[in-house]
Symmetry: C2
Subunit: 874 residues, 2 copies
């Protein structure tokens, strides 16, 4: 049988969303529910895919179906294309499976031509309205279908107004508009080279193609990437009989929500405008009225609308966003969809819907976008203050939250001046040495770097607001100034950053705090009830650990010990260790670090109150701990009482061509076992001390990074277990501990069966695994990935969302092989992606034990884990 | 049944080599053949593995077997351990499955103690001989079993000689030696803290453990790594009844080969010494006699030995290396094994053995070590000249061959001065910009860099001799001097490099040329007959292509187009292209490069005379083509008529943190499609021109590098096919071409099923694939890999030999997935490892179509491919 590419509204329903798009499915569902819907048909998303497969053309079989359904539509509506008595006018609108508001194209009033418009003027008894509709149609069609920009036509309108000596479009007469329509057609001919199509069928096919094409316009591509919408879905096209809200005072148009989308309150919320079309509402020339006033203006219509709204909400078990038009006193529904809402509203609506018995907890949870939670966790700018403020620059919304403070240009200054008051750290880009300064600042602004730059990653980890890659600012760190537009800002000047939008403001904006109680707590409680995956956090300080526990973390999945090494009190000992020429010297330096590391871990274990913690042994290349500027080298040499040449030689010898793939991770203890010995001793001693102090049982999990071969792991594990067992004997302690590894190197993934003979747990380090599986470095990819997005080679950033086809295949393989060797192996993920909902869905699918993410992503992960569990249980 | 860990010589045979080791299997085989072998037993290699598994101890079950076989041995020999009338004295020797000469330990005369030596003196009627044997045993045992160095004992001998006023050991009397034995035991007690063991059984167990331990001494580990011997094999231990060649003038000892190991001539070749032990021959105090003279000295023994030698060669079907001892006129065979031989001898012996009907072609081919061929292909120093010369420094033998010339310190100077006479390029390390200079030089010497450094890789590719990582020299490129020891060398001074040993000599050494005819040609002919794998070469110039064809290459598997970009006439246009701000500017620059690239490819196609060629599109990051020094940037700006800041900004913007994982490979044409267009046009036009000119059918193979995702490949492939089809149309040509990809990124390997929908062939780029699979960069790994070898984590360099367990798993997966999609997909390998015999064996196993390697490795690959085919056919 021939494939069906076209459906009458009366043939579809709400659950055909993928095929008919959101709008099409909504129209069909409302039709099915017997609501007043101007009738028509939907061309499926599969037809859109065919359009692209067939080399951007509509194949004859599809065109035939469209023509067939046009006939059916004419019959249903009792109108005909081009008919002079009863002409069919239609709207042609896009409608993707997931709402992409404003991203694709729409054409209204299609079906008009010189003869039809005349009879339409007569039929409506409103020539001005008819000719205005006509010239709007020509303008819209020219723009959308042929790419002839609006400016050509606006110029003609302006000329006409000048000639007539009037100011507003509304002052133009029917005759003026008729004349303008003629001029528009002439302009079309001039620009396009052929006559404006007068045959409505030709107009229709042109419009349908334009909608298909608009699926791949740059702003649609960008929107899809930001919202994880696959490009192969395609858009449907809806052909709907026109109704007019501008046919007089008994006509009108409006938009409404069944609940308040800002607060979640259960109240009809929206606005309408009489004698107007949708675009008038948007244009803002006239102020719309609140929907409640419709009760006075048109009580019958209002009652009918309230009933429709209630029915729709009950039908969809969710808050609805509806568009309607009133034509000569009669209500028409043009759209319904699940309404977008703020995070706060999402919480309240979910809790209320369950309380009202409109849906189950599971259904309610699935309605919440986990990513939205983020905005609830960080302090926010006061919405009123934001409305008044005007951004001076916009960068990437790298880490949400609000940050106001005095500008500082170095991490040192940040630390120092934060004692006097809030500061914002402004840098070209940040480095690992800036961490303390970043922590001291209210926000971080960088001129370079993407969503996964150092600044962005660290800031998200800290829950610190960050705007990165803000190319509109010029930073001169030397002279401590930044230039934005024509303004030169100096150290101490106040700025405000909105990490949720990427906006930068001058001066100080007021903020409001986050709250984790009420509806939020209820929703999180449901999520915890329903999820299978455990949720841990990546944290390196007791403060972060406590915050994460407050956010619901069940332990630490990744404690990076190197962050403890950068503290200014410790770095001298770290450098002494690196510059050591003999093992004995190195041990002396490590002995200085031991009490500090031990107290770090004691702090962590206390903060965790018995929850588990996976500690990763030292990971970064050693050169990160040494200075590179010659003056700093000289200073260090002086401090260390070592010849300058010797320090310089060490710096040079540690230089690496590709530091990402250099002397780091477990390669360090293979060369210097004493580093792993010190760290193990610190971990085990801390665990013994805190366990004796608090009575909590502690099972330290020691994780060896960057393993590629089981022998490598066995070598380092032996150092760890021998040290641990020695410490346990010394202290007469009886404590269990586990030794495991990161799976972050492709070779480890493909030999995971061997690795599991030694590893008691795996933690997937998907940052590094992604880099090596794709063969590009996170730091460098930012330069060429934009080309990949533009050319639709990649649709999302593989560092923020796990690449299931490639990296995921290795993860799956490692899980399978690991379980072959050790059926009860504990499996986790601790990369940046551990807090990404689609990645969490994958983790549920492959059956990981836990995900670990930055503290501020813990609630997101809890919800996403619950959603994944619900989906996979189905 | 209990596992058997011990075998009498009479229980074994030649084919038990893995279990009994080479020496043990040889002794067993000679016993089996009824030859005169002092009897004994062999402890298996499995016992060695048990020794390590059990924590470096001999388990009771194995000890029991040893004792049981000792009893059997006593019975067979009619002698007893510790017996005063007829004492059993034994040698304890290591014996790995593959010969590791001198790498492990040996103990002779075991069984002597204070009482046995006395009766031994009486029985032999030679007290001096007896006490000399005793003191030698104590010394050897102390050294080998307890690590008490020889120097302690030599000091005592020296004191004794001074006291006695004699010069030579031979002047010491029996009484002196008896006294020394006492002193030796006292010294042992002093150093070790316990008495020297007097019980022969205790001596024996100590000696066995020492041999097991010696399997893991540093020189054995290093030898295994150089010779690809797995560490899990272990060594066997041979306990053999002692015979003495120093019992008088009717006794003696010797070593002989059944054929001349230097030339391959069929003649008994060797030497002997009467009244001597093996170590006397080695010590070189007395000059041994040629084996032919044994006919006069001991005609009966000589005849018997000739018969034994003939029998052994016929039995083993190979040239034998034998050790023998004559005790009181009776011949004893102590060892036989396949003899080591020079490459030239190996060729002749193989051809002769087949001619004599001693083995088949297949068997003959398997006897040749493919790696040895290398030395036949490069010009060699005259052996006499080498003997007289003394190296002044030794680096890594990075690329074999002989190179003499005047020192130059820059690539420019090399090119310039090579016109006057031979030069040797001396650099700290080389870069891609040095390629022309390297090509102009006779040899390359670098102070830094490993076996896989840039210099080493490029030099091997060029067949240019190279000594890399020669840390004993200090190079000052600025002042154009190098210092070696106390000698300062200046530009123009002559040095000679031996790339086969890594030796550096002052002055000029005479050389001899390579010959590819005679036995070599015969052997290669057999290899070509028997192999399944095709052998291609990696070549970028017509000269290299012709050389490779002369070496038997069947085409080019990898033509790197970037090497053509570094030519000084071209680099301005390349830089112009990189600095271009607009597509039109870039096209202008590319148009300048087009005729040059086209003529490059024309040259290649002509040289290949119809053989296929895979051309890889531009691969390296663009910054490699730009200068980094500020003065060069200024010069370039001047040359290009572009502001200095602009050039500097481009250099900075192209800087990469991890260039390995940066903006390179197919990422370049994704950003700049016009580069791929130009290269495709050049390839296709060249193919059309040469095909019309010569009448040869040419099927260009265009290879897209660094692909990680099928969409990426599809994007670039579309550029290539559209361009190619346009050119074909323009030229009215009818020519087929293929588009394929490198598989060098892990993601490409795991998604090879998808990649194969677009790729018509795969070529495994195992250099990059190894880097990314292991997660370490070749440039950086040299620093930490030595730790891995020392600690036995890695046993070989994964860049010179494919890592079958990890990288190989990805290759296998890619082959399987690729064939799923495209059953006839052409599969090749073009990394450095493509010329490595063990890698080639793997390629045969997974069924690749071809291997591609540097020109000088082509004969090696042909032989290795034949061996692999023979082995896998079995």
């Amino acid at each position: 049988m021939e494939k069906k590419y076209v459906y009458l509204f009366s043939e579809g329903s709400a659950d055909m969303r993928e095929l008919l798009g959101g709008k099409g499915a909504g129209l069909a569902e409302m039709t099915r529910l017997g609501m007043p819907v101007p009738q028509g048909f939907t061309i499926t998303t599969e037809a859109c895919s065919r359009y692209y497969e067939d080399g951007e053309m509509i194949a004859p079989d599809i065109e035939a179906q469209i023509n067939e359904y046009l006939l059916k539509m004419e019959e249903i509506c009792g109108k005909k294309f081009g008919d002079l008595k009863n002409p069919l006018l239609v709207s042609v609108r896009s409608g993707a499976p997931v709402s992409m508001p404003g991203m694709m194209d729409t054409i209204l009033n299609l079906g008009l031509n010189d003869r039809v418009v005349e009879s339409f003027a007569k039929a409506t008894n409103n020539p001005r309205f008819a000719y205005d509709s006509y010239r709007r149609f020509i303008q819209m069609y020219s723009d959308v279908v042929m790419g002839v920009g609006k400016s050509y036509f606006e110029k003609l309108i302006d000329e006409k107004k000048t000639k007539k000596g009037v100011k507003n479009d509304t002052e133009l007469t029917a005759e003026d508009l008729k004349d303008l329509a003629e001029q528009f057609k002439a302009e079309y001919r001039k620009q396009v080279g052929i006559d404006f199509p007068s045959n409505p069928r030709d107009q229709l096919m042109g419009a349908i193609k334009a909608v298909f094409r608009s699926w791949n316009n740059p702003r649609a591509i960008a929107y899809r990437r930001m919202n994880d919408i696959p490009s192969h879905w395609g858009t449907a096209v809806n052909i709907q009989s026109m109704v007019f809200g501008n046919m007089g005072d008994d006509s009108g148009t409006g938009v409404a929500f069944t609940r308040n989308p800002a607060t979640g309150e259960k109240e009809l919320f929206g606005e309408f405008l009489m004698n107007a079309q949708g675009e008038d509402v948007v244009a803002g020339i006239r102020t719309p009225q609140s929907i409640s006033q419709l009760l006075e203006t048109a009580p019958q219509v209002y009652d009918q609308f309230v009933e429709v709204a209630n029915t729709l909400e009950k039908n969809y078990h969710d808050m609805q966003d509806m568009e309607f038009t009133i034509e000569r006193g009669k209500l028409y529904m043009l759209q319904c969809r699940n309404g977008k809402r703020t995070a706060r509203a999402a919480m309240k609506i979910a809790v209320d819907l369950v309380a009202e018995g409109l849906c189950t907890k599971e259904e309610a949870l699935l309605k919440i976008d986990p990513k939205q939670l983020d905005s609830l966790l960080h302090p926010q700018f006061d919405p009123d203050a934001l409305k008044k403020a005007k951004p001076v620059a916009t960068g990437l919304a790298a880490s949400p939250g609000a940050g106001s403070g005095a500008i500082v240009f170095t991490a040192e200054d940040a630390k120092e001046q934060a004692k006097q008051g809030p500061v914002v750290l402004v840098r070209l880009e940040t480095t690992t040495e800036d961490i303390e300064g970043m922590n001291a600042a209210q926000g971080i602004l960088t001129a370079r770097g993407g969503m996964t730059s150092h600044a962005a990653v660290v800031a998200r980890g800290m829950g610190r607001c960050c705007v990165s890659g803000c190319s509109a600012i010029q930073v001169d760190e030397e002279s401590k100034t930044m230039v934005v537009g024509d303004t030169v800002l100096h150290e101490g000047d106040f700025i405000s950053l909105d990490g949720s939008t990427g906006n930068v403001y001058l001066g100080k904006l007021a903020t409001t705090d986050a709250s984790l109680t009420g509806d939020f707590a209820t929703v999180m409680g449901w999520a915890d009830e329903l999820r299978r995956l455990q949720v841990r956090t990546n944290a390196d300080t007791p403060t972060d650990a406590k915050r994460a526990v407050a956010f619901g973390a069940e332990g630490i999945g990744l404690c990076r010990t190197e962050h403890m090494f950068f503290d200014e009190k410790r770095i001298p000992a770290v450098r002494e260790m690196i510059l050591a020429k003999r093992v004995s010297q190195r041990r002396t330096a490590l002995n200085k670090l031991l009490p500090m590391q031990r107290s770090d871990f004691e702090g962590m274990y206390r903060a965790l109150e018995g929850r588990p913690m996976t500690v990763r042994l030292l990971d970064p290349p050693l050169h990160e701990f040494l200075p590179t500027a010659d003056s700093d080298i000289v200073a260090l040499a002086y401090e260390m009482k070592v010849p300058v040449d010797e320090v310089r030689a060490t710096v040079v010898s540690l230089h690496e061509v590709n530091p990402m793939m250099g002397f780091r991770g477990c390669r360090l203890p293979v060369a210097y076992p004493e580093i792993a010995e010190m760290q193990t001793r610190a971990i085990i001693e801390a665990a013994i001390n805190v366990s004796r102090e608090t009575g909590n049982e502690i099972v330290p999990e020691i994780m060896i990074p960057l393993v590629g071969d089981v022998k490598e792991l066995a070598f380092v594990k032996k150092i760890v277990t021998e040290t641990a067992d020695t410490v346990l004997k010394e202290k007469g302690a009886d404590l269990h501990y586990k030794v495991g590894t990161m799976i972050e190197i492709p070779r480890a993934a493909v030999t995971a069966d061997e690795i599991a003979t030694e590893a008691e747990f795996f933690s997937f380090g998907t940052n590094d695994l992604t880099q090596m599986t794709f063969g590009f470095s996170r730091d460098d990819a930012a330069k060429f990935l934009p080309n990949y997005y533009d050319k639709k080679i990649y649709e999302f950033d593989p560092f923020s969302k796990l690449d299931v086809d490639g990296v995921g295949k290795l993860v799956k393989m490692a899980c399978t092989l690991g379980r072959q060797t050790r059926p009860d192996i504990k499996l986790g993920i601790c990369g940046e992606q551990g807090g990404d909902p689609s990645t969490i869905d994958f983790c549920e699918e492959v059956g990981l034990t836990y995900v670990s993410c930055s503290p501020f992503r813990v609630p997101i992960a809890r919800l996403a884990a619950a959603q994944a569990a619900i989906r996979h249980r189905k």
